[in-house]
Amino acid sequence: MSELVVPVLLTIITASTPLVFAAAGEVVVEKSGVLNLGVEGMMIVGAVVAFAVGVKTESATLAILSGATGGMLTAFIFGFLTLRLLANQVATGLALTIFGLGLSALIGHGFVGKTFSGLPKIGIPLLEQIPVLGSLLFVHDILVFLSVIAVFLITYVLNKTRLGLIIRAVGENHHAAHSIGYSVVWVRMGCILFGGSMAGLGGAYLSLAYTPLWVEGMTAGRGWIALALVVFASWRAWRAFFGAYLFGGITIIQLHAQGFGVDIASQFLSMLPYLATIVVLVLISNNSSRMMLNAPADLGKSFHASD
């Protein structure tokens, strides 16, 4: 039995990790009061940059780092436009996605059909020896471990540290935060860049480990699902983590459904993650008072000291 189930569970982890990165990063961004809808664009730039560097250098470390940097640079465009030039966050986020999809196709033009060896697996000594659980939980590539660590760190920093308090203050009431001397613009810029590098890592995981190939438009809406997950998680990183695994699970189970003898056209099964997103959004939005309590009060509002 475990020979059958473990591989499926392992692929669920692989499918969920990109969502974990992107959603956890966006939690931080939105906590600081910024709605960056460009997650899809940052992810795909991260994916293509990581893959290109991976193919050129054959170094997994360099590939991962450059994926994160790619996402961060893309996020910088967003930060500059929305924070310095006070552009509308929704429109800028959309532009970032359109631009990212185009730019990634341009960069990736020469890398279609190339292959990358994938990320090496790392086992945690001793723990990996545990039967079944060991191979399921303790033998993974570095990014899977990193995604779990990131979620722990984000939860800890946001809730237990001074830095987290500042970020939340900026997101809840930017004028109050400004008046006690915090730089709203720089706090938000930091969060946006962090979110961008996380989205870049999510994209890098897709092209380096999940496929590992470069295909135009390969994020296929995962950035948008990550955005939905943030709402689903009511802006908590650890809930976003479980949400990501729920969605990863749905994605993988629909792939295996036909193998298990479910006779439905593949297209209907492929709709499941998107349908699930809508259903989840309906379920959590229905309770509007709870939504209002959890959402950062200044989410999506531009800040200028003179208003």
Partner: protein
């Protein structure tokens, strides 16, 4: 040191100047990118923006490409003016194309003159139905329409893929995932001989003044504008927010559906796996660049159509990847959003010494 200073009033002049700034900046950065790609920038700009429209055929082709963009952008303008973010026009276009094209496939023997108008109406209804879902969910449950309309786009594209690989596949098509070719009665008539320019362009040109009237002189347009600019005032005036959400979603969905049907009944002539190269998303840029005004949408739609033609031409002539088009479109929106800062703020250059004196 450069500082932004809040204007007392929105600058009307800047509203209309900033699209031109944006276009100029995009061209300059485009030249930079081209030289980076190892192509002579002037040559590339000519290939991209001049060659495609240097013949009658090219101009006709420009209008063919602009038709869906302008139609969708006009619809989206209603939404965006009301601060409603329908970004699922691509899905509404797809479902509209399936509804209109489906009618044709249902009556594939018909040569009735009512078939084509019927298809257009079905297309509008299909788009409306698909846009009605996020509208309903927003009104009934308060769900975020950005995410639902986008998720519905992916679902719509999968429905298209299912139909085209399954029930709607051409029985004589050697197993290609394509529908039957539409019969002549289902095709939009060509209005300029020897080109692909079809009746859809005329429909678009009619929609522009109608939408302008609706937006400027009709109560609906007024309510939409008030709700977008001052939701509280709109409430106090007794405008029904729910109705405004419904109307703006239905207008934009209907126009996107119409655009979808026009695509399949016009230049394509059958239902194929890829009906639109992202018109629904590009139309978002068109709407903003056109200042959410129907006439502006017409002009910016033509410009954006040119980036598609230019991308194709650059691929053939200069061997550049087609994706350059997407980069251009994204940059254009970036520069537009950036120059829009001048609408509400003015730039002041202050020396460090005076910096503190100027505050307050």
């Amino acid at each position: 040191m450069i500082r932004l200073e809040l204007r007392g009033q929105v600058s009307e002049r800047m509203v209309y100047c900033s699209p031109f700034f944006a276009v100029i900046m995009t061209l300059l950065s485009g030249m930079l990118i081209f030289s980076f790609l190892g192509v002579n920038p002037t040559q590339a700009i000519i290939t991209f923006f001049v060659e495609p429209i240097s013949s009658i055929d090219g101009i006709a082709e420009l209008c063919v490409k602009a038709t869906p963009l302008v139609l969708i952008a006009i619809g989206l303008s209603f939404c965006f003016k009301a601060n409603i973010w329908n970004i699922g026009a691509e899905g509404q276009l797809t479902i509209g194309a399936l509804a209109g094209g489906g009618l044709c496939l249902l009556f594939f023997n018909s040569s009735s003159q009512f078939l084509m108008p019927g298809m257009l109406i079905f297309g509008i209804l299909g788009g409306m139905a698909w846009a009605g879902i996020p509208a309903f969910l927003k009104i009934r449950f308060g769900t975020n329409e950005i995410l639902t309309s986008l998720m519905l786009t992916y679902i719509g594209l999968l429905i298209l893929s299912y139909l085209i690989h399954g029930p709607w596949k051409d029985p004589e098509g050697q197993n290609f995932p394509e529908s039957r070719l539409f019969q002549d009665a289902a095709l939009l008539p060509i209005i300029l001989d020897e080109t692909r320019l079809h009746l859809g362009w005329i429909i678009t040109l009619i929609c522009v003044p109608v939408a302008w009237m609706l937006m400027t002189y009709h109560l609906i347009g007024f309510q939409i504008r008030v709700m977008g600019m001052a939701p509280m005032a709109s409430n106090f005036a007794g405008f029904r927010g729910k109705n405004i959400i419904w109307i703006s979603f239905l207008i934009s969905g209907g126009l996107a559906g119409l655009a979808g049907t026009i695509e399949v009944a016009g230049p394509i002539g059958q239902i194929i796996p890829v009906i639109s190269p992202g018109y629904g998303f590009t139309a978002i840029i068109v709407a903003f660049l056109g200042r959410l005004h129907p006439i502006g949408c017409l002009l910016s739609g033509l410009l954006m159509a040119l980036t598609y033609l230019g991308g194709d031409n650059a691929q053939i002539e200069l061997n550049l990847p087609n994706a350059v088009t997407g980069v251009f479109q994204g940059m254009l929106l970036f520069f537009l959003l950036a120059s829009d800062v001048l609408v509400r703020y003015r730039i002041r250059i202050v020396s460090f010494k005076n910096k503190h004196r100027n505050i307050g």
